[in-house]
Symmetry: C2
């Protein structure tokens, strides 16, 4: 039975990868840059998106697909800071988004007038690492409240990501967290990772993040 | 193919439940009280266990099975505060422990001289909710850094738990977190939940937790 399980899983993953390739092609045809945001629950994906939409929403046409196990809370929060359509996906128990859900969500968005797409995945450091959604890159958020050893304990997510955004740095004075050690642990798992250190509460450290997004879409830095 | 997936999953879950029943019987035969600790990554399961072993380890014979996706870091940390064997389980990618892993881990522990068993699950608010490990109860840790709406977004874990231990309450002055609202959200999902508000860093709020554990094992409060 173990073998049968693996076969079924492989077929499901193959089908997902096929759909992800179609999503990737569709986004490329429309010139849309897509990032898949992953993290532990409560690391601050929605808060980072609220800030980012408020800062860059005037210059870039940003769309969001917000995934959750239950509720559309995150999509509602994001809708308050943008006039654009925010598409909610409820996985109904699954611990990750899959490419088919993203594909369906894209049908509701006007890709012709979209520059940048954020896919806010389910809060989970394990499952989403295995699922290609057609994104350009996965970006892992890592709250400074979580402990420096997260990259060593959940290596696949950090291996699969291009960037790590440390969040809640305003709490660094109050938590036993060594940011340099956490960065070193992340680089041990994936030496190509680039990192940002941010606080969505105070705004500290967000400018380099905005620059990165702007350059990813337009190839030039954000205007001051 | 969707139907085949569901069939295979049901058979896997049935098999898990059978093994969990055997584990539960084995623990009962030896008079062992077992709790399955679940939470987001970095919510402080290991820190709570370190404190608890230091405080209660002299009065109760406490064993720990520590599960992780990769590394035995948590088991090593806990080993430093107890002379008893701490059994590490590496799931190798899986987002939860299963009953078979716990059953194998128990073979390495001397149940005859064990009063209380903690099973430290993988840091994940989705997957572990579906897997019975033969425990008396699941206990969810909920860090005050995570946001009040976690019970609404991950309801199954809170439905399946008997207790919620709020952690990192020392950070309450620095985070936008309404503890009363979080408790209310948890009770909306599961009105039978009992809660503790704790800080493993300062020790605040831990006495009621120790009392609960002591009474769970011996039926009487802990000695002062």
């Amino acid at each position: 039975m173990a073998i049968r399980r693996i076969e079924v899983r492989e077929r499901v993953m193959e089908k997902n990868d096929e759909i992800a390739a179609l999503v990737r092609g569709r986004l490329a045809d429309h010139g849309v840059t897509a990032f898949n945001l992953v993290s532990s629950p409560g690391a601050g994906k929605t808060a980072l998106l609220e800030r980012t939409l408020a800062r860059l929403g005037g210059e870039l046409a940003i769309a969001v697909v917000a995934g959750d196990v239950q509720t559309e809370n995150d999509a509602l929060r994001i809708s308050r800071v943008t006039d654009r359509l925010v598409q909610a996906v409820v996985t109904g128990g699954a611990c990750h988004l899959d490419a088919r859900q993203v594909s369906v969500a894209l049908d509701a968005l006007d890709l012709d007038v979209t520059d940048l797409l954020f896919i806010e995945n389910v809060g989970n450091l394990v499952c989403p690492a295995s699922w290609d959604l057609g994104e350009r890159a996965k970006i892992t958020l890592f709250a400074v409240t979580e402990g420096e050893d997260k990259p060593l304990k959940y290596p696949k997510m950090f291996e699969k990501s291009s960037h790590v955004v440390f969040t809640k740095t305003d709490l660094l004075p109050y938590v036993p967290f060594d940011l340099d050690q956490a960065v070193a642990n992340a680089l041990t798992v994936n030496p190509a990772l680039e990192t940002f250190a941010t606080s969505a509460l105070t705004g500290a450290g967000l400018e380099p993040w905005y620059q990165f997004l702007h350059a990813s879409v337009l190839g030039v830095p954000v205007s001051p």
